[in-house]
């Protein structure tokens, strides 16, 4: 079987303790949330931290507070399974709960956390492989090598943003609170946290700890997330379309669209959002045009499941379907 490399494991009880350990251990240490991604990656030697600071014992990082009027505050160690069934989340932002239900499999949702999902590593067919496999291709830029095999002449890594909740958090305008070992604290807009680079995909220092995710008050907005993947369970998204609209009847007052799985960061489309503002979704032409605009920044490459040009084609199809779903007001996050 595949073996984990040796590491030391801490299980602090408070955020302060966790940050202190991180401060002491330095860059060889990593936070461990649910472990559903990090531990398999360690078996494949994609990541090789010497020290893991497990967060599961920190009670203050769990749970959901607030409601649709005040907005919600999610503890990052809330498991995805808890998020799926949380009444406050389901009442305020049902798309968040339904999206959590689209992640991986039931057993992994019992371990995986919302914080872990938002900070999950980017993925690539050339990277999510064993050490021996990667050695056969002389490794890749993201780990141990120099070339990005997806686009060998490219100076950057093209690993794919693969969290389902990230595009949704971006369109909801969620904010993330980060604490540093030196005591400093900052709050960032979700959309600002992600950078379009497969390696440096988070604008966050490794020692910073995500301590809270804040979802804004609902204020009449509706959101949805459509996921494209091969199977109804288990798979990471190869395309994820999140959309949030403020509607008066079928008239769009404001729109936000973010697309996951088609680049190293979620792709937003200010053009599509601006185009939609003040237009009616009753007009299929509007939906088609917005979908085409929103799909433009999508750059799927040959490093996930499915044919890449087909994934590109599907981007506008899925944006259109998301807009139609929001127009209908049927709160159903379609499984694909």
């Amino acid at each position: 079987m595949m073996r984990l490399p040796p590491f030391r494991h801490y299980r602090p009880r408070t955020v302060e303790e966790a940050l202190a350990i991180m401060d002491g251990e330095g860059p060889e240490a990593a936070f461990l949330a649910g472990g559903t991604d990090l531990l398999p990656n360690m078996k494949r030697r994609q990541q090789t931290p010497r020290v893991l600071v497990g967060l599961s014992g920190i009670a203050e990082l769990r749970g959901v507070r607030g409601d649709s009027r005040t907005g919600l505050r999610l503890g990052p160690m809330t498991t995805l399974a808890e998020l799926v069934r949380d009444p406050a989340v389901r009442a305020a932002w049902p798309a968040v709960a339904r999206t959590a239900e689209l992640i991986s499999t039931p057993p992994l949702r019992n371990m995986g956390t919302i914080g872990g999902n938002l900070l999950i590593d980017t993925r690539c067919n050339y990277y999510n492989q064993s050490y021996e496999w990667r050695r056969a291709i002389d490794f890749c830029m993201k780990k141990d090598g120099r070339v990005c095999w997806v686009a060998p002449s490219s100076p950057r890594c093209w690993a794919v943003q693969s969290s389902d909740e990230v595009p949704l958090m971006c369109v909801l305008g969620a904010t993330l609170r980060l604490l540093s070992p030196d005591g400093s604290e900052r709050t960032v807009e979700a959309a600002e946290l992600y950078a379009d680079d497969g390696i440096a995909h988070l604008r966050k220092r490794p020692e910073e700890l995500l301590v809270e995710i804040a979802l804004p008050p609902v204020e009449g907005r509706r959101a949805t997330y459509l996921k494209l993947r091969r199977r109804g369970s288990f798979d990471f998204p190869v395309l994820g379309v999140a959309a949030a609209l403020q509607l008066e009847g079928e008239l769009v007052m404001s729109a936000r669209i973010a697309i996951g799985g088609v680049g190293s960061a979620p792709r937003s489309s200010p053009e599509a959002e601006a185009f939609l503002r003040g237009r009616s979704l009753a007009d299929e032409e509007t939906i088609a045009r917005a979908a085409e605009l929103a799909a433009r920044p999508a750059r799927p490459l040959d490093n996930t499941d499915f044919h890449m040009s087909w994934r590109k084609k599907m981007t506008s199809v899925f944006v259109a379907r998301a807009l139609r779903e929001l127009r209908a007001g049927v709160a159903a996050t379609a499984l694909v």
Binding site: R3, R135, R230
Partner: protein, 861 residues
Amino acid sequence: MAEGETAMQPAAGASGTTAAAAAPPPPSPRRGPPAPGPDSNQGNLDSHLRPPEALRVIGQPLRRVDALAKVTGVTRFADDLVLPRMLHMKLLRSPHPHARVVAIDTREAEALPGVKAVITGRDLPIPYGILPVSQDEHALALDRVRFVGDPVAAVAAVDEETALAATERIRVEYELLPPVATVEEALQEDRERLHERTAYANVHKAVSLRFGDVEEALASAELVREDLFFYEGNTHLPLEQHAALALFDADARLTVWSSTQTPHYLHRALAKVLAPLPASRIRVIACPNGGGFGGKSDPFQHEIAAAKLAMLTGRPVKICLTREEVFYCHRGRHPVLMQVRTGFRKDGTITGMHFRTLLDGGAYGSYGVASTFYTGALQTVTYRVPVYWFEGARVFTNKPPCGPKRGHGTPQPRFALEVHLDKVAHQLGIDPAELRLRQLQPPHSLTANHLRVGSMGLRRCIEKVLEGSRWHERRGRLGRGRGLGLACSSYISGAGLPIYWNSMPHSGVQLKLDRSGGCTVFCGSTEIGQGSDSVLATWWRRSWGIDPFAIRVVTGDTDLTPVDLGSYSSRVTLMTGNAALEAASRARALLARAVGAHLGVPPSRLVFAEQRVFDSEEPERGVSFAEAVELAEARFGTVGTTGSYTPPPAPGRYKGAGVGPSPAYSYTACVAEVEVDEQTGIVRVPKVWIAHDIGRAINPVLAIGQVEGSVYMGLGEALMEEMEYRPHRRLVHKMPSMLEYKSPTALEMCEVVTYLVEDPDPNGPYGAKEVGQGPLLPVPPAIVNAVHDAVGVYIDEIPLHPHKVLAALKAKAEGREPRYGPARFPPVRYPAPLEVGLPEPTPAQPAGAAALAGTGGGRRP
């Protein structure tokens, strides 16, 4: 009393084959109306599972003898085994698709504390391979590696981490060779050859067999249709990864426990490679397999290397492969390109067929020669093909070797043939079901390629699925994006010939009765999850009326059990069944004589039932089964018998006739319903109706489980499964993991309505035929035909990726040929055809009794 009867009875001269050969041919098992057996339907399980009258065991949904252990996690698979002082083994594998091994330096690895031994190809220089004609593998690369993942060295160490660390300290110097990535490259003469012995270029095997004047038949046909198809390669994906444990004891005896489907063949390979260790000192024990599907039917490198390391270190050596390594073992479905050219009359009946195949075999022979013949063998057993020409070729490429996967070599041509017929039906305006029903191969007949068909329940199968799916009302009328498709198929119930030429039985059973009233059955067959242990236990209950749980089943142990060739080619129920029945009837005769003498009644009046042996005329007069055993033991000495089974001789006498013959053929018909999203090209399969002619369902619950499992696997092959490689990145496997090798989950699984059709075959035990593999075959073509019904395009290659469907829809919208599939068949230098000619009598007319002579071996209740 004869002395000879007291001990294990020799089987010689008493096997069913010779005994029945002289007997008059049995009458057709079909008497009057279609088989009266229970047509089982999931929707109405209880009523359909009621056994035929007078059979209280056969046809009963009995609980499996191994069920409790399996569901409570008690079953010990190979990786669960632990021995004192056990070492762990790791293999170093090649990172190159094609290279010469120039030098290997293991000193640094050997110096690592905890490492006990390191071996390389030089320690195991003798080649081996499953087929006698393809002895082209080495346990560890001798001088050349042929795919990324080919093992080069093996380490035994005190734990897995140390063994792994040691493999990283082995220095291998390679001289890189240009890899052969594709079939087209393999056909080119100027490419580096993977093996010295080839037909030409990297063509491993090329064959051409002609049965009758095909060109004349095509020239005189009213319609000739030619189509190209491609079936992508895919792998077995058993849940259990291969594992092996080897022990070399103080008496210089080697024992290997392994997750193997074929302990006998592994035994032979070990004896060859580990020479001069005699075969009599090697014992192979097949552990229950957590799924096999054909993927555990070859002798594997890790089994041989673990054995060698156990011999060198004197300590037990164990390995459980990683999932990635299982992908490198592969031996899965061959990718096959196919060209089918058929002549038809206006009524849709076939006048002659020319079928060409081209297989990408990967790096080694494995079962490939047999696989190649199988791509041409079974086209003839479903519909009348008066004259037939088959050309097949298999090439070597620098990828993990292909081999047998559920359906071995036949799902690919079946896919082509069934879609081809659907196209012809549309072209001629004939209902595809009607087109098939018009030309079914008759029961008890010979085919153009000299295969003897026995019972043939395909008509009934087609009728069942048409009725279940309401075909005539619903086909073509389901609305936009929805459709129904039909396909049929047939499969062997065990290969008629063994892998290595010999005239010994294919299956042997010994049994021992003891004074407790229990008995132990010894058989070389292997439980791979299909329920063979249970079926084995069933025969005794039927013969003696004793509880199957009083029967100990000892299987798959080359020291303890007589040879059974293994759990492959759907052979176990028929072959071990016949052997078991023979052993049982012999033991029954001994017991009846002893009890008859004791009670003073003729043995023929005795009944074995309800754990008793009693007088049928005075049922209260009798003894318990245990007492019957005591009486027999007192009279004859220790009570044990044997039984064995050899398939009837195949009628074909030409070179290549070894592949295709079987004691009996199962038949399947399938209707699939699909939903096609025309915007995305995504195909969903909500429901499948499938009818399988099983001859006789020994245990309908197990049989339905096999049908559903086959549908699942066929669905995966049709919709998503594929072995993909990166031709420009060292030919690495694109995604050797369970996450990224896409196989359906429970959510993608369709609803399945199963009908078990029972058309008993004279060669099957109680008429039973196979069910483990055949029901997979019609699923992919039924789905493709349903897609055509739904949206009017043919996808002539699987898997049915959505981009292919969209491309075909686009072609249709633009007025081009509404299809997606291969555009050309590369020029292959097939040999000049071997003009076999047609058998006598010709297959056009149903063969009479003459065709049935020598079909003994079967036994009817």
